[in-house]
Symmetry: none
Subunit: 211 residues, 4 copies
């Protein structure tokens, strides 16, 4: 049973007859994704409506409902076509100086999360994922995990170079690096600044250093 969907007035499963993807209109698809990115920036996620997206995209509502199960899913698609995978493939630079590399990347990430045009849709998705377990999986797979993976690779490389103690759980180390960042951002427990990420990197690395 697909969990969360079966309440007393469960919104019955859509799309018994799955549509024929080969006949899908690329033009409409793009228009919908573009419109939803524009609108989420203009009015925010909660006030983003399928109706407005359809109107802005010059598209029938059914065309949205035909291909996406929810407005969150639309936005996720929209966002992931913007945040190209190229971004993740580059990975974190490896100059040999772990601390400098991490600080640099985290400073860049701070800048990114401070930019409203990136922040609005990303926050919208993070929030929707936090609220809805089903959507959460998609969000993690397509955005969060690739983001965490690059750190894992860089730390693993440092561990192999002997800059990190052998008994360290790299996965946990990544969480120590990104958890505080995410918490400050998502829950607004503090401001995102370069000073913050610098200090964070330093403190985390103190715990990772070989003894």
């Amino acid at each position: 049973m697909p969990s969360a969907s079966s309440g007393p007035s469960a919104p019955r499963a859509r799309e018994f007859r799955t549509p024929d993807a080969s006949r899908r209109s690329e033009r409409s698809r793009r228009a919908i994704l573009d419109a939803s990115m524009e609108l989420v920036g203009e009015v925010g996620y909660n006030k983003l409506t399928i109706e407005a997206v359809a109107a802005r995209a010059g598209v029938g509502k059914q065309t949205i409902y035909r291909w996406w199960p929810s407005k969150a899913a639309v936005l996720l698609d929209a966002f992931t076509t913007v945040v190209t995978n190229a971004e993740y493939e580059a990975g974190i630079p490896d100059t040999g100086d772990l601390e400098a590399d991490l600080k640099q990347v985290l400073r860049a990430t701070v800048d990114e999360f401070t930019d409203a045009s990136f922040e609005a849709p990303y926050r919208a998705l993070a929030v929707a994922g936090a609220a809805d377990e089903e959507l959460s999986k998609e969000f993690l797979e397509r955005l969060m995990e690739p983001g965490m993976e690059v750190y894992t690779r860089r730390l693993r490389s440092a561990q192999e170079a002997g800059q990190i103690a052998e008994d360290i759980d790299i996965g946990l180390a990544v969480e120590m690096l990104l958890g505080p960042f995410q918490q400050r951002w998502l829950q607004r427990t503090g401001t995102l600044t370069h000073e913050f990420t610098d200090a964070l990197v330093e403190l985390v690395l103190r715990g990772l250093a070989p003894r």
Copy 2:
């Protein structure tokens, strides 16, 4: 219609004439808080409606709108009457063994966050706070910050006892402890287990130790 408040669709400020709190019905207040706690567990935050709360509580809708600005505010009140302040006042035990004390408290916290009747409303509030900056302040002040404060006190005490290096920023240390926890929970990047929090405490303390 009470025209031109601010923006075209601004959620205009309610309650110019603030109601007379001394005449407020305690009976209704309790019924509303109880009903919202019940309902958020049954249908989730997004499907929680003021109308349903009013019906369940046997209360007019206006009685809710008179005393609270939003459904999130109702839920926040409802939740904070359940999570008694007593919980925070106790603080973290101080047996002298910092690692043991932290592990114990975090294990208890894991248990709490695994209990559905606690998790549902808390997650609802966290999500609402993540989405809405205004609400976020209330949520932080009344729930998150008191929660973080007890860790701050315990770590400060350890620092004074020389168990933590003098140059450590205790605030940051608390974030390293709770950020990964919150991230796993809120964003579902991992499961909350005692093993996880144990390992987390160990790794964090490694970075805090006096050199």
Copy 3:
């Protein structure tokens, strides 16, 4: 079986919780009736939509659905407040000259049915009644039967005066008078003219005369 209404996706009975009629807004009621009369004249019955009526009346759709089960019911109410009962109460003049009296009234009726502002809504209702048995009852009771009743009274009076044979079934006589009229009008089997109704009266009376 109440015929046409029970398909596989029958529109489930509305209004379990019947609204409180004493709190009904007279202002909205009038606006809805006026708007529907205007619109049926402008666009015809098939293109008349609840949505347009609500918009024109400056009313929420729910306010219509709350008080009427269908657009036909709205229109029936709208029409019957225009066609005042006074019209029927007057009855057919009784000058003693049955033929002249009938001719006069039927000529007037022809004029009425030739006037577009009367014809449009009346035809709409007749059509809707022909299609839907349920609605039909209302239509008959509130419009057709009162219309036929005045003829019944006039013919009965003539029968008592000895101008109509005693063994004549007055009800059937009325049907012979109005059936051809209605058929020409509703089914468009011919044009409605004074000549037609004059000839009709003459021929019918020929059959009613005492032998």
Copy 4:
């Protein structure tokens, strides 16, 4: 968008390039007519949709739109292939006894109109014709007028035989016979019984008799 055709919402003329009738699929044509007859019986005219007909017939929607201008037109075709012209060609028996002949035919007609499988589509067409002037013409030409014509012929024959006064307008006489019948049926002003038609024939003939 197929710009400026005529009015803002004019149902613009389909089929500039009229299709090649010689290549038409007889198989599809039959399937469509059968499906529409089935469906009109099951769900009624208002809930009869082109989409459902196409699905039931195993046919593309375009195949319907290619050959018929509206669902009413489809149904009219469907119905007229069932009600064979043979039925009308036979005409009304002429035994010499006009009253008996008319009573017999009208009794048979009552039976026909009481049979649901005949009544449903016929009523659908009558209603559609009443609502739509354009369609009305087709309906009259192909169904009503042939039906009235047989009465005209029989009455004319009786008039020639001296059983009907010479000055009688036969057309009007037919209307007096069928108008009340149609009114009872279409508007449900009364039940269709053999007693009714018998009495109707008698009363009408009383007016037609030579003086």
